[in-house]
Amino acid sequence: MKKKLVVAATAGALTLAAGQAFALENEFHGMMAVRAYNSNYLAGTAGRLNIDGDTKTTRNWVEQRTRLFYSAKANDNLKLVTGFEIDSAWGNSSYTTGRGLGGALGSDATNLETKWAYLDFNDPFVGANFKVGIQGLNDNYKSLIVGAGADAAGILASKSFGSATGTFGYFRFDDRNTGTATAGKQARDFMMIDGNYAVSKDVKVGASYYFLNNDNVASTGAVPSGTFNDYTVHFLGTRASAKVGIADIDGFFVYEFGNAAANAASRGVHINAFAGNLATKIKAGPGNVKVSALYVSGTDTGSGSGNQFINVDNTTSAAFAENAVGAMGNVWLLVRNPKETTNEQAIVAESGNNNQGIVGGSVGYDLTVGKVFGNANVGMLATAKEQTGRESRYMGTEINAEVGYNLFDNMSVLARAAYVVLGDYYKNKSTLAAGTDPANPYETQIVLSYKF
């Protein structure tokens, strides 16, 4: 009798499982990119380039990144979204466990990382969409505050009202005491309220209020200098984009205010910072001219003033900037480009430029001719404030170009080269032999990428 019951229960469970499985829609996306680098400064890691002190030996390496995204869609209103990543640097370790490993002979590393795991559902009662769980997080300011591949745990709710869309988000960036009796007492939280409005077919405007609160005294990453571990920062932002004839124009302005201190007991400084960006793409001949300009306020790190721009970095290591400077346009060595993968190093690795601010921009030309594509750009970078001990604010000028070919619809191969002429910011600051200024950085990349 017991056996019969077990059999019946098993059959029932199987049927139920089968029924549920049939109801699911499986959706897969992913990518793989293999990048071969050659550079005198880059080293396949993250953070600011050590221009002042690097030994400048030429180096080359190959890294690969694979991302797999799987969504289990129960119905039109509910799906589970997951994302995984496998990074490896060729030649780096085998039979081991860790991020970016498994590229050495033998491979077999445990190196599967979870990027995303969240529920995406529509609430039929209020008609809003919710995303709950660990998910991609991007601000609406070209990742200047947070984004460019940043992932965070939280809730994002959005709802459309005709031509307008409203978004509310809450994310817990860190909680030092997770799993203890004081969980939530030393945490870093982020809240976002955002609105978009399509004025017409060709004009769109938006505004937002973000709030970043850090009670995590162990955090050293939120402000790159590591000075402030207890802070409350408010972000007010506005943006617009428009298509005017042959030109696409967009821009934004972000103002920050609040307080930042070394710890709860100290007085700290009042934050009073801002950033502005203007970019345009103009059709010219067979391609497009692209122009970008960016200003990010800063301070003299030798004295400090509260004008430093607060961006979101990782607490594990400030080198992992959870933001980028895509607003500078298509430059690769001067600032961290959002298109980089494992290698994220740049002269400016985060949007605050180590509290010094940014005055920069670029001019470029993009061209696609059938399956061939390419672009060439010139970018310039300076700090927003004079820095004690530096001869100039001017950090350098980058010249870069890339040319690629679409082998298939989803697969391309490209070659890229970038060279920076360093500015006087670095003059007489080298830790190398007296009178020796740092060498100008360069990098070349050959990239094979596949997306689906």
């Binding site: 991007n138 990742s143 769109k204 298509k243 059709k283 067979p286 689906f452």
Partner: protein
């Protein structure tokens, strides 16, 4: 004595008949299986049919290759739940009465072939045991017409019991097919006029090339034009909006993230562009199977399809958007049509994002959705995301759904592309079929479908006047050093 004599005669005849029946083997035909819950359905159906055909034999039963020669027809089904499967079969006599049934279950795919062996033996034994008593007086049915390209569902059988089962035997009903090979992997097709000399016009496009053909006995390339190297043609449609009796060709063109659509007309030397840089997507749609009109939708700086779907109007030399359509929430220019039931009620039919066919009431309520997926297209355009977000998602793929036709009689005609490699944005369809449905009042019921073709159906057209399908198929996919090949064919629906 008289009564006793009759009885004797009946017994003798019965014995004689029974003897003759037992003496001859029962001829069984195994039809194609229905498969649910398993992958590779299309491959499994004939495989299961072949396996059971070769195993359904004993001293009393033998199998034959065609249903016309058969005494009984075996219909089988193969159902998988998780790892457990059940394979069921029923043998029916010529008038549809069930002669024998049998089933076998298994718990892994390794047990499938032995299970079919068991099923064949059980079914053969049951047929041999039951056939003389159940179908002795069966009358032969007329043989169905043989024709290869249209598979038509039979009408529901007259009720013979409390439970009415639609016959699952598929009958073939008539067609014609002429293929014409075209160089290149083409993606768009539109039919033109039928000329006085009987020649037929059609237009084909792929990449940035637009071609004009006339087809008599053979198809002849009349004109070809190549657009800008960065133009990508997303659709071509024909309609006579200027009323001169000659349809114009409405070409949806994307270039560098912008719509730069064009209108072409037929000129003495072939094709002549009359308007360009129109910021619209185009599609010709005959709502309710009535007049074909050109509909248009726009794109804005962030949205791939912006605002409502409008009818395209022509005033003088300029075009205007007019009469916006009120569509269900998920509908956009490329995924909908509308049909009317006999009572005059209109319903929208759309492909949803996952490829299911949905029917909506005029009030926007979802009334029905298909169990199988339909549609499927490899045609897309890419748009750059304004804000760079991460290392590889700086542009997105926007796929365009294939056409839904509605005939004057209210039939809903949709294609079904399928294939082994359709994952995310990497799509490579390898098979297609075209289906026709009619609205029963509660659901769409299949009327017919075309025989499955081993090619991707890039685009197609349905001619309501001649009841004919015109198909543009990709017969060879584009490779690294090969532009591929396409073919245009027609199927007459009889």
């Amino acid at each position: 004595m008289k009564k006793t004599g009759y009885r004797l005669v009946i017994i003798l005849f019965s014995m004689l008949w029974a003897h003759s029946s037992w003496g001859a083997q029962v001829k069984a035909y195994v039809s194609s299986f229905t498969v649910s819950g398993a992958q590779n359905k299309d491959e499994l159906k004939p495989a299961l049919q072949t396996l059971l055909t070769s195993r359904l034999n004993n001293d009393m039963v033998t199998t034959v290759e065609s249903p016309e020669k058969a005494d009984v027809t075996v219909n089988g089904s193969y159902v998988v739940f998780g790892k457990v499967f059940s394979i069921d079969a029923a043998a029916k006599g010529r008038t549809g009465e069930v002669v024998a049934r049998a089933f076998v279950q298994g718990e892994s795919q390794d047990e499938l072939i032995p299970a079919i062996g068991k099923l064949g033996k059980m079914l053969a034994d049951n047929i041999a045991r039951n056939y003389p008593q159940t179908s002795a007086l069966s009358a032969p049915l007329p043989a169905p017409k043989a024709s290869p390209d249209i598979v038509r569902k039979e009408a529901v059988a007259a009720p013979t019991a409390d439970i009415i089962t639609p016959p699952s035997v598929e009958r073939q009903a008539g067609s014609s097919l002429v293929s014409q090979r075209i160089k290149g992997m083409m993606s768009c097709f539109a039919a033109g006029r039928t000329l006085a000399n009987g020649e037929r016009e059609y237009f084909v496009a792929g990449g940035n090339t637009l071609q004009y053909y006339r087809k008599g006995k053979e198809a002849r390339l009349v004109a070809e034009t190549v657009l800008d190297i960065n133009d990508k043609i997303l659709s071509i449609d024909t309609a006579d909006l200027n009323g001169d009796g000659i349809p114009e060709i409405y070409v949806t063109v994307m270039n560098n993230n912008a719509l730069v659509s064009q209108v072409w007309v037929l000129a003495e030397n072939g094709l002549k562009k009359v308007t360009d840089r129109l910021p619209y997507f185009f599609r010709a749609i005959a709502l309710d199977g009535k007049d074909k009109k050109i509909y248009a939708q726009q794109m804005n700086i962030d949205d791939d399809f912006y605002g409502e779907v409008f009818e395209l109007g022509k005033t003088g030399e300029s075009y205007e958007l007019k009469s916006p359509l009120k569509l269900p929430k998920q509908a956009y220019l490329y995924n909908f049509n509308r049909f009317t039931d006999p009572k005059g009620n209109s319903y929208f039919v759309i492909f949803n994002r996952d490829g299911y066919l949905l029917v909506f009431s005029p009030e926007g309520e979802e009334l029905w959705r298909s169990s199988d997926k339909f549609g499927g297209s490899e045609l897309y355009y890419q748009r750059s995301d304004r804000s760079p977000k991460s290392g590889w998602t700086d542009s997105r793929y926007v796929f365009l759904d294939p056409r839904i036709f509605v005939s004057k009689k209210g039939a809903v005609i949709v294609p079904q592309n399928s294939g082994f490699w359709v994952v995310g944005n990497s799509r490579s369809y390898s098979k297609n079929s075209v289906y026709a449905f009619t609205w029963s009042g509660a659901s769409l019921e299949e009327k017919w479908h075309t025989r499955q073709s081993q090619n991707y159906l890039a685009d197609y057209s349905y001619d309501d006047g001649t009841n004919e399908l015109l198909l543009l198929e990709v017969v060879k996919k584009e490779g690294l050093f090969d532009n591929g090949a396409s073919a245009v064919s027609s199927i007459k629906i009889e």
